[in-house]
């Protein structure tokens, strides 16, 4: 099968997957107790008022009809309007996207060099003090959930030591204008992937260092650094690269937790708020964004794998 046909097939499958996810989420949201009208009515749940709200929000139309309308809108690129604020969903999403992109982008950017460096350093010093320290730290950090790590970092570095702001409360809309607010959230997001990827790099590196071609290169008297970087490392990276794709998926979930702890008004916070408000159009649009990202990232990872080992494609 050619690469183009494979890509096309995967893309079509991806579209079906995204629609399936959005449908599932629609059904699940409908199954939640109460709707946006009930939530909006709050502590004055006057029945007449709820009925009026429901009518105004068009929630009195059958669920299947609303679903079909939403799908037709999606096909035209129209995501609808938020039930609670009446703003176009695309605008609501556009407001939440930049902080999430900044967080995820910077995390991915820092992830590769840090985890490769840690993995290589541990492998080279295998069994010695540095390796043991790195192993203890990475295994230890890996077992702390993000929200717990977030609270601890805020307490120590923000409240106690005052080095960084504890939350992004009051930060400018563009978080890059105040990079200090990003330090702790990115540290939390980095903690687990750095651990898992550096462990994989370390293992791959140890294998490579023990392999015949590295031993041979050393016997030839090639400089140690060059042996490490050009001979051993590329082979050690393969398992790490696979893990990177999985990490990108994971980041979407991690971002929701981290945004909540650090009060960052990104897509994760938006998802939280819209589920609480039963704001179905916003929830649906977010699911499309998240599902699309997952499909695309996995497709890219598989295409990269195809380039490396064309025979493995199924």
């Amino acid at each position: 099968m050619s690469l183009a046909r494979y890509t096309l097939r995967r893309l079509l499958l991806g579209v079906a997957q995204v629609i399936a996810v959005a449908t599932l989420v629609f059904v699940l949201t409908e199954a939640l107790p109460g709707d946006a009208a009930v939530v909006l009515a709050g502590d004055i749940p006057d029945e007449e008022r709820i009925a009026q709200l429901r009518h105004a929000l068009e929630l009195d139309r059958p669920a299947a009809e609303r679903w079909a309308g939403w799908l037709a809108g999606l096909a035209r690129g129209d995501l609808g309007v938020s039930l609670v604020s009446g703003r176009p969903v695309a605008g609501v999403l556009a407001d939440g996207l930049p902080p999430t992109l900044v967080l995820a982008g910077l995390t991915l950017l820092l992830l590769v060099p840090i985890s490769v460096a840690a993995g290589v350093a541990a492998a080279v010093r295998q069994g010695r003090a540095l390796d043991r320290v790195l192993t203890t730290v990475t295994v230890g950090l890996y077992s702390i959930p993000e929200f717990a790590l977030g609270v601890v970092l805020v307490t120590v570095f923000a409240v106690r030591l005052g080095w960084f702001p504890p939350t992004a409360v009051g930060a400018p809309a563009n978080l890059l204008q105040q990079p200090a607010v990003l330090v702790l959230p990115i540290a939390v997001l980095l903690a687990r992937p750095v651990c898992s990827i550096s462990r994989l790099v370390r293992a791959g590196m140890i294998d490579a260092l023990g392999s015949g071609y590295v031993v041979h290169a050393r016997r030839l008297g090639l400089p140690r650094g060059r042996v490490l970087l050009t001979h051993a490392l590329p082979n050690a990276l393969a398992p790490g690269a696979q893990q990177l794709a999985r990490t990108t998926d994971w980041l979407l979930g991690g971002v929701i937790v981290v945004e909540s702890v650090f009060v960052i008004p990104g897509l994760g916070t938006l998802l939280n708020d819209s589920v609480a408000a039963r704001d179905i159009p916003v929830i649906q649009a977010l699911c499309v964004v998240f599902a699309t990202t997952t499909v695309v990232v996995n497709l890219l990872a598989d295409l990269a794998a195809y380039r490396l080992a064309p025979g493995a494609l199924t």
Binding site: L32, P33, G34, V38, V39, L40, A41, G42, D43, I44, P45, D46, E47, E48, R49, I50, Q52, L53, A56, S82, V84, S85, R87, V92, D95, F147, A148, V151, V152, V154, T155, A158, V159, R160, G162, P165, P166, T167, V169, G170, A173, S260, V261, F262, V263, P265, T269, L270, N272, D273, S274, A276, A277, R278, D279, V282
Partner: protein
Amino acid sequence: MRLDRRAFLSAAAITLAGCAAQPTARTASSQPSRGGRLRAAFAGGGAQESLDPHLANLFLEASRSKAMFDKLADYGTDVSIVPRLASTWEADKKLSTWRVTLREASFHDGRPVRAADVLHSYARIADEKRTFRAKANLALIDLKNSRAIGDRTVEFVLRRPYAEFPNVLAAFGAYIVPEGADEFSRPVGSGPFVFGSFQPGRSLLLKRNPDYWDGAPYLDELEYLIANEESARVNAVLGGQAEYAHDLTPATARTHQDGGRMAISRLSNSGMQAFAMKVDRPPFNDPRLRQAMFLLADREQMIDSVLARAGQVGNDLFGKDYQYYAAGIAQRTPDLDQAKWLIDKAGAKGMKVQLDTSAAASGFLEAASVFADQARQAGLDMTARPGNKDTYWADVLNKGVICCYRSGAMPIETHISQRLLTGSTTNATKWARPEFDALYDQAVASPDAAKRGELYLEMQRTLHAEGGFLIWGFADWLLGASPRLRGVANAPANTLDWARFDKVWLA
């Protein structure tokens, strides 16, 4: 899952932040000084947030509305009515036509506040096709026949005689907007602060209104920030990102009250804490069982364990220390033997009762579990049934038999008319008695305040003896503020001086 994590987060933050608190010297209170920006952190509603003052629902929105707008009247600290944009009001002999005179005030764009603006605002709120919160309060105004007399006098014609009309002028959300205003992306009001910039779900920046009729604010700028988690609001004050954190839990307040890094304000008597028993269905249609519940409740224990002592016991009556409160009725004390006897008489020994609760308000889950324990000691098999917090109020209005309930400040008359009459829209106890309705009608048709007081007293006696509300306490409202912030008034939540920033200053 989310709740568990929240609970864990706040507990962890409290514990850890407590370890970190270092005492610093507190400076003595100073003379008001001008200038500066106050950053106030509130829980927000994300996409639900609106600057439309008539849509105000959340505490955040109530505070923002009062910063930019005024009502004709508002609740004083004892929830009596104080004049605001209205300088005086008087009724005709029949109490069905009221003349309200406006004070001299102007909107932020320089236009004067006129009678036409008042009529427009009330018509907008009362619009049949819309669902504004104050609509029910304004329902008895016959707006078609009400009119402006000149620019500064409004004549309101009511559908029936009503002595408590000033309560309507002060209703939650009854703000005055300029004539024709229906869009509030850049709101224009008459309040102490002028709109600056707004990012929904993030922040609202306001600037000082130097021409405010009630005296220009001390602050130059006021910024509202959003932090839904209590721990984030506390950390924002501790970390210097905010000077005011709204709504803390008693545990946090206790942790920080002696630390010196955050000043704790306790706004006493802010929140009624209750259980609402439905009197129209078994088992609580039996007055003996309601009586038993009143007697088995150990209110002191509830204050201790649910409110961490940040509150005072209730006597099953709304509006402690408010105007018309029946302070003369003796405080109930626990009498377990009598309660057991009554439960036995009612044939309810060992009866399974589910107490509805949820995380809709802080302390509900704790209150339900403590009270269920107390009820079990008296022989009822009561268990707490946690429900969905987002839809809680609609769920418990008609379903179940007993639920956790709370209320902010409002006049006793408003509490009665919204919750305890046959036609009340949010009657959670299903208290519907023609003779009680008649007493109410008689009271609000009486021009004599002393006579009204007698009638309200009689109604409160009935409620105390056999009503559906078991009102066990009144919680303090807790705020955390930077030690630099001065002038924060001790006023119950929802009253004029609560979350009001034109009278505070930064030292």
